[in-house]
């Protein structure tokens, strides 16, 4: 087993932070772009770039609502995104352990 088996879309510091942060929301919840930016500590431009990559992979979805001062962009993890993060955590754990344990998913590496 090698590093190549880690999902390259997720295997970047900022995107990993975004994925893990969004995975902590309950089902049906989303996080505003500004709060996500505050939690991750990225510039708006950087965050947009990372979100675009994750969105292109089908891992996150963004929904815009409202206009003017009430405008809001909500970001949430999709089901494939949650599954991809679970797989990533499993592979990472196996690589760190140097073993090849039976399937088991958890976002804790």
């Amino acid at each position: 087993m090698s590093d190549d088996e880690l999902d390259s879309v997720i295997h970047a510091p900022a995107r990993l932070r975004i994925m893990v942060t969004l995975s902590m929301l309950a089902g049906g919840e989303d996080l505003s772009f500004t709060r996500l930016q505050d939690l991750i500590g990225l510039t708006p431009g950087n965050l947009i770039t990372h979100l675009r990559k994750l969105e292109d992979a089908g891992y996150v979805t963004t929904v815009r609502s409202g206009r003017g001062v009430t405008a809001r962009t909500g970001v949430s993890l999709t089901q494939p995104g949650r599954a991809a993060l679970e797989r990533y955590a499993t592979v990472l754990r196996q690589l760190l352990d140097g073993t090849d344990p039976a399937d088991g998913a958890s976002i804790n590496p």
Partner: protein, 221 residues
């Protein structure tokens, strides 16, 4: 690829910012740190909220109980003790709004709307209960009856709403607290207009404290 590079240039990001090399141990550390930060920032500190309400009930009802202790005949709580209870309830409400509001800022979705309905139901229920208390007094109900009603009716209503709350919170401890409040409210009424304040305040307050302890243990990362 070119499109990504253009987007990175447009956003001012460098290639290192975007796809920095990441070794396995650092990836694991980032996951752990991001998880802990999200838990810390996005989860309301409900144990603190329950603990505050436990103290509000024990102290507030305790003050009322001390003010009516030894009254023969029963004439009701003193204005000062009612003011103390009102201030304590306000402290509880403001604390709840601050703690819950701070954590949930930026979070959207169906669960947020459900939480709003929950707080609206609690507020509307309390307003209705106090309005009914005034109507009972106006209709000539005795001080003893008003005393028992004033102590248990808000608790009964809160318990009923908490019992239905798993639809909002998916949490067994809140449901158990709701059932406990209903039992305490109904049974403590038999302690009479004086004893009800002491019994209901102590038992309900301990219920809130117990849930605070349970949830604190469970919410630890």
């Amino acid at each position: 690829m070119n499109e990504d590079a253009s987007a990175e240039r447009a956003s001012g990001a460098t290639a290192d910012d975007i796809d920095e090399e990441l070794d396995l141990r650092r990836a694991a550390a980032i996951m752990q740190e991001a998880r802990e930060r999200a838990l810390h920032e996005l989860r309301a500190r409900y144990p603190a909220v329950f603990a505050v309400w436990g103290l509000v009930l024990m102290i507030g009802y305790g003050v009322i109980w001390l003010s009516v202790l030894g009254q023969h005949p029963y004439t009701g709580p003193t204005p000062l003790s009612l003011l103390a209870l009102t201030l304590l309830l306000a402290v509880g409400a403001v604390t709840t709004v601050i703690i819950v509001g701070r954590a949930l800022t930026g979070i959207g979705g169906a669960s947020v709307a459900q939480r709003r309905v929950h707080y609206l139901a609690l507020t509307a229920g309390l307003v209705g209960i106090f309005a009914l208390e005034g109507a009972l007094a106006h209709a000539g109900a005795s001080d003893s009856l008003i005393g028992v009603y004033g102590a248990v009716a808000p608790m009964l209503m809160t318990g009923a709403i908490y019992t239905a709350s798993p639809a909002l919170w998916q949490d067994w401890s809140t449901r158990a607290l709701g059932a406990w409040l209903v039992v305490v409210a109904a049974s403590s009424a038999y302690a009479g207009p004086v004893g009800v304040w002491g019994v209901a305040g102590l038992l309900a307050g301990l219920g809130f404290m117990a849930v605070a302890v349970v949830r604190r243990g469970r919410d630890r990362p």
